[in-house]
Amino acid sequence: MTAVDLRVAQRPNAPMTTYRYDEYDAAFVSERVAEFREQVNRRLSGALTEEEFRPFRLMNGLYLQLHAYMLRVAIPYGTLTARQMRRLADIADKWDKGYGHFTTRQNLQYNWPKLVDTPDILESLADVEMHAIQTSGNCIRNVTADHFAGVAPDEIEDPRPTAEFLRQWSSLHSEFSFLPRKFKIAVTGAEHDRAAILVHDIGLRIVKNDEGEIGYQVVVGGGLGRSPFIGKVVGDFVPREDLLAFLEAILRVYNRFGRRDNKYKARVKILVHEKGIDEIRAAVEAEFAAMDRSVFAHDPEEFERIAAFFAPPPYESLPATSALLRAAKLETPAFANFVDVNVGAHKIPGYAIVTVSLKPIGGVPGDATSDQMRVLADASERFGFGELRVSHEQNIILPHVRQDDLFALWSMLDAASLATANAGLVSDIISCPGLDYCSLATARSIPIAQAISKRFSDMSRQRRIGKLGVKISGCINACGHHHVGAIGILGLEKKGQESYQITLGGDPTFSASIGEILGPGVTAEQVPDVVEHLVDYYLAEREEGEAFIDTWRRIGHARFKDVLRREGEDGADI
């Protein structure tokens, strides 16, 4: 048994496949909690003004929102253990209102913590190796990754060791703690992009060159928000040993040339757009050549130490298909639908990847009650080596389920209202909290998601429609990723009323595209009608095997605009 194995085995409830803190990590997080406790005390005593305190609370993930404070907890690359999920549930019960909201950055937000309780919450999180550091502020945020990491059949390499490596490099990086704006990195190691890397400040795609060596395609300058851009390749193949130095060079170029005079033009995407990728690439390469790279020299031993935490769990040798699964599907149609929609292929024979939708019909996208969190923790221990993932689509993944166990798992989930069979379908809507919670929002987004979900509540109709990404943001900051929704919805204020702008043709994958505006804004009540008309038109026009985005690309935006205008002229309520 290696030292790492021994350390993992010695921990209570130790999962098999995630990073565990060493003494340095634990001390670092504990010190941060103590430091923040002191800062809160100084704020409450008046020793710190709000202006002085605000950067401290934001560095610890604490925002002030519409109704209360909000605490954003980091879930690095979306990976959680059962123990951590249970702790999130306990915190929700003890210090919040019995639920949490899983976000598009694979994090969790509590909507009602009190300032005075926050140090205790952070201490409770630290106890299970969690924190809220760098979930806010102009720093490198939580590094996200493919939620099927380590189990997807199309994977070249598990992206989580790289993501963890970057997390350690970027945590409290002294040079990058006060960047011009926030900075988001995503990593994928698969042939299909499930991490939306092309719309991140830096997107990393693990690739293999002709010699069979692993490296990274590095994309820079993607992003959503007020000015959406698709990232551009700045490094075609960056060897692993150069990765940290190369990223350091990009961040230095951004830190030096990124605009600080206007926060709306401060993201690296604007720098890339204004300078052009060729000039940025030249600047990065010059910085890379000139810098002392020995500081960032790759440490294979450290990388292997980290990678060892993500070793595959002890899978059984199983047949590729399960007779039990086949029989249960025949016997229980609802289960069969769940398997067909929410269960994906696994790289290990006899296993499956299960997506647990947090989008019940008419529910709040991404919300889970504390009881549901405990069910998920229990389910992961019974059926999945105690590991869970949070997807940027605001769902929970159980990445290692035996096909033989799928029916028992489904029964458990169904009893907890967690078995909605809509993963990737029209009601699996990404939605930011919008004006129901967020102080930046200009309109509500959750009620729009609920109304669309109810409009398409017939699950057989949803399955006929097929994969369709609907994404809703309650303001131009685009936390709901509306720019990359096949159908995107943006809530704005127009003449003192909530108004919704519809876009079509967005795509967050390797074939990324930014959605195009359909027409003038519509009211909240009109949105479900508009979406339904668009979907009906797609169904009428689609060719065999075409998803909504394919049909839209084939026949063009104008045809969709036309049909909507004709429907309006015919008296439809749109």
């Binding site: 002030l64 519409l66 109704h67 209360a68 300032l115 129901d436 009620p447 609920q450 003192g496």
Partner: protein, 105 residues
């Protein structure tokens, strides 16, 4: 100075718990119906001054004036949908916030 068009109340967030509060006649209230109403620009300016005082005293944060209309019972109701949300709670969780009796409505 912005043009004074409507009666206004002073809204803030309570420092310790973040709850939405409204400046009343004898301090910060959790029920907007008990808010003190400024009916003239000078009264609004006076409310703001009190808000600044209580920011300095570390009672409240994020203080601003909001336009209201006065009902037949004399109670103020915010005009903008954002502040209407703040005096109630999330529209998607009627069991939470002031509308659910958590704090006063």
């Amino acid at each position: 100075m912005p043009v004074f068009k409507h009666p206004q109340i002073l809204i803030a967030s309570n420092l310790t718990d973040g709850e939405v509060v409204f400046l009343g006649s004898s301090g910060w209230e959790r029920d907007h119906r008990r808010a003190r109403v400024a009916r003239k620009a000078e009264e609004a300016t006076a409310l703001e001054a009190l808000g600044k005082r209580d920011i300095s005293a570390n009672h409240v944060v994020d203080v601003y004036l909001a336009d209201v209309e006065i009902g037949s019972d004399g109670a103020p109701t915010p005009l903008h949908y954002r502040e209407k949300m703040r005096v109630k709670g999330p529209s998607v969780r009627l069991d939470l916030g002031k509308q659910a009796g958590e704090g006063a409505l």
